[in-house]
Symmetry: C2
Subunit: 519 residues, 2 copies
């Protein structure tokens, strides 16, 4: 008889930083109470951490009491991050949960399973059912060849042992093989926690069941780290149709609808980068960060994944930027905002007007570059991530002697992609000196270029900011640009910095390019 463990809030919390609206959690708890789900893992339990995380990362006692109120008939539990636990912490962490929680699981790196065993013994003494949730299943055979035999030592210690396909990279036949081996060693209940990178979470779960797995992990709408998990509604529909389980589809669809609405905002589920990370057993932590920030193009992410797969941290060391200590009196940074195009005529006139000064242009974005192709002053292009493709098209119209590309310092986390014909014109910075944050961004690059060129006057155009309602990405970009602009102003008092087109960004003097023309 299969049992279902739902861990929607715990694994879904990776998307919401473990904050959930009360209405949603209540509907969810009520649905779980009504559905044939045996275990509900409501979140992580942790001690205070240095960065903010929400309610369901700590599960304070009132959260547990609330869950119990709505789910009186269910086994309720939390999971601990084994690597964060010091053995002395367990009493403090779990003492007040005794009698209130049914089970405690631990997320465990297989390298640490012995240490985890000691914690398990202590947790068990406190009266909880104890579960192991052991990660990196796809690496057990190759990297921990004796692991499965060794864990015979867990008999009598743990009540359940879940195998976690952390990378979403397993195939059904591999799941069958490992499940059979684990099953032959351990007497406790065996669980399977799939990830859906390659859309095999359900097939792998069926394979695990075929091989004798007892507990299946699932989350509503598959909400979970990276590509997410087996969907609870899929597995319950299966059990309803094939095993005749009694499923209250009204309750189920009500909570599914709640999470579907959140999914439109956060967009979990698999996509090309998660597929590639899955097929190559690469961690989804970085991929999730890249994908959800929507800052990098899919191409950049795929490039980075290919580098990871080939174990290349980076694939290209470039010559140092400005090793010959060029210097310009004035520079104009052109951003990607509409004014970078609208004001192009005025900016070009300004450059003509100041032809007695040494001037250069710095393109923070490739977007508006085309408007400046006919200028005869040096132009620098910031190349972040995988923009080489876009730049390739832009470059075709430029005087090749006037242009060069500048990349962030080596090694670049996302790898380096420079189109072949730009190779001789591409340089890297040695450092970003004026800011500790956002060092990889277009704006940081553009500002650092101005510093390296020791300009006395720096004008900035095409940094319009955003009007009206803005989304998460625009908000993040605003924050980033304001931070960087304030750093450059504060740290470089000898340089005159001004935006010269209309802008919503604060903290920098805002002149008008049109006024500079009549000056």
């Amino acid at each position: 008889m299969i049992e279902v463990l739902d861990c929607t809030l715990r694994d879904g919390g990776y998307y919401t930083n473990w904050d959930f609206e009360e209405n949603l959690t209540r509907n969810y708890f009520e649905a779980m109470e009504a559905l044939p789900v045996s275990y509900i893992e409501i979140g992580y339990r942790s001690l205070l951490q240095n960065d903010y995380k929400g309610e369901y990362n700590f599960c304070p006692d009132y959260v547990i009491a609330n869950a119990r109120r709505y789910m009186p008939s269910k086994k309720i539990g939390v999971i601990l991050n084994e690597k964060e636990i010091k053995p002395g912490d367990l009493r403090q962490l779990l003492g007040s949960c005794v009698g209130k929680l049914d089970f405690v699981r631990m997320a465990i790196d297989p390298a640490n399973w012995k240490r985890a065993k000691s914690s398990a013994e202590e947790i068990k003494k406190m009266g909880f059912e104890v579960g192991f949730n052991v990660m990196y299943m796809s690496k057990w055979t190759a990297e921990y060849p004796s692991f499965i035999d060794d864990i015979a030592a867990l008999n009598g210690v743990v009540d359940s042992f879940a195998m976690v396909d952390s990378f979403g990279s397993m195939y059904p036949h591999e799941v069958v093989e490992i499940t059979c081996r684990v099953k032959s060693v351990l007497k406790c209940k065996i669980g399977f926690h799939g990830h859906n990178n390659t859309e095999l979470a359900f097939a792998n779960t069926l394979a695990a069941i075929e091989a004798g797995c007892d507990i299946v992990d699932a989350t509503v709408t598959g909400m979970g780290r990276g590509a997410g998990n087996l969907r609870t509604e899929l597995f319950l529909s299966y059990l309803s149709s094939k095993e005749g389980w009694n499923v209250d589809f009204n309750r189920l669809s009500t909570t599914v609808a709640d999470f579907e609405r959140m999914k439109e905002q956060y967009g979990w589920g698999t996509n090309l980068p998660y597929m590639v990370s899955g097929f190559n057993s690469l961690p989804q932590k970085d991929v999730m960060d890249w994908v959800t920030r929507r800052f990098y193009s899919i191409n950049s992410i795929l490039q980075a994944l290919n580098n990871m797969k080939d174990k290349k941290g980076d694939n290209l060391k470039l010559p140092e930027f400005n090793s010959d200590k060029q210097h310009f009196e004035q520079a104009i940074i052109i951003g990607g905002g509409p004014s970078g195009a609208n004001a192009a005529k005025a900016i070009k006139q300004l450059i003509t007007k100041r032809k007695n000064k040494s001037m250069c242009l710095i393109h923070a974005s490739s977007k508006n570059a085309g408007y400046y192709k006919d200028l005869d002053i040096p132009q620098f292009f910031c190349l972040v991530g995988n923009e080489g493709h876009r730049l390739e098209k832009v470059f075709a119209d430029f005087d090749p002697d006037r242009i060069s590309c500048v990349l962030p310092p080596y090694p670049r986390k996302m790898g380096t992609y420079v189109p072949e014909k730009l190779l001789g014109k591409s340089y890297e910075l040695t450092d970003v000196t004026f800011s500790d944050l956002y060092q990889d961004s277009h704006t940081a690059l553009a500002l650092q270029i101005a510093l390296e060129l020791s300009v006395s006057t720096l004008y900035i155009a095409g940094y319009d900011g955003y009007d009206g309602l803005i989304g998460e990405n625009e908000r993040m970009l605003t924050q980033e640009n304001e931070y960087l602009l304030s750093r450059i102003v504060d740290n470089n008092r000898q340089m005159e910095v001004a935006t010269i087109t209309a802008t919503k960004y604060k903290g920098v003097k805002n002149l008008s390019v049109y006024g500079l023309l009549t000056e």
Copy 2:
């Protein structure tokens, strides 16, 4: 050596009615040309039909020429709907494609395979490679037990034979079994076309390959009827990682991004209704219609699917509405718009003012009903689809002697769900007499109730219509309401009909409830 057949435009056309933007198709064709995909099925080829369908449902010659221009190195083909073909049509349908198309497939009901064989022979004579695409794979064994043996007659006639998991209901072990049997009978290439209702499209494809399948059907982002197909990008990522195929991920991700944007609009992919239809081998045509119109709640759809599964057309015949020929002089229909709540006070005063008339209230929607709970006149509730749950909460506050529910005529396509405690108070219409369209809608029901009650004056409140930018659903609802309102006015000249709250709907006299109070 596996070959890939991409049929994104053909199968994805079910969502866009086979119209696609030119930029998108060009990017797609260029990507296909660059990727290791052998066959591109660009659409249906059909003769003129009675209802509008777009470019890729007919694939006129210029469409084929355009596809060829961008994909000079690929095998390009179309698919025919076998059941629509008359043998005499083939020359007219395909004559101008000779030398321009490489292959022609036919979508075939297994019941018609012999008839399809004759067409295949003729198509082959014209010089095309001919493919069978045989549907309902999950029913072959039970409903067509000799089918697989019989199709030995296709040897020498067809160049490929694809097995279509039409309902998305197959399990990998079943795919292996059927593929092996087909493979033992046919000498041509064997293909597999999966659907992703239960997220097993990829696992089933791997199973088909294991059993000797030669050609795999896929679509970019899985775009395809209902829950959609195996994703091209998933399968190519697999082939790249596991088989070392050379995949240009830049090209691939560019076309994937185009289709992902469309997916946000059309929302293909699986969900609870598709899962239930999949697990029970139910056709996704109706489900797709229900899901994409977003008119019915998930609960209604699940109810309808359960009825289908149990082979119940409908599960409840109710007593006829108004069999005792009640009559009211005046009725007020309350819709779900904000004015149905905002004007509640005025409407209730109007009812008090006219207490010398016999009056009743008809709730087209349950949304605003609560505002009218303290009235002592009869109130009728329109119960469409699965609204019973919502009504259950609303009803609690009403005087039980004053209320009744009215449902559309029997049998109801979506089945009937009436909460138990409302059963004695629920009736069905025998007919919707004043309109040929939208007979199942809330508004049709409300208006028909007024007709059945032979009211002389019908007031309508809470039909506000929509302001500003509206989406597809609001547009459809507007069209529906305007049509129904104009029908009731045109067909019932003896009844005075007027909206009495602010409305954007045209064609009905618009009075003011506030004016009626000062009259």
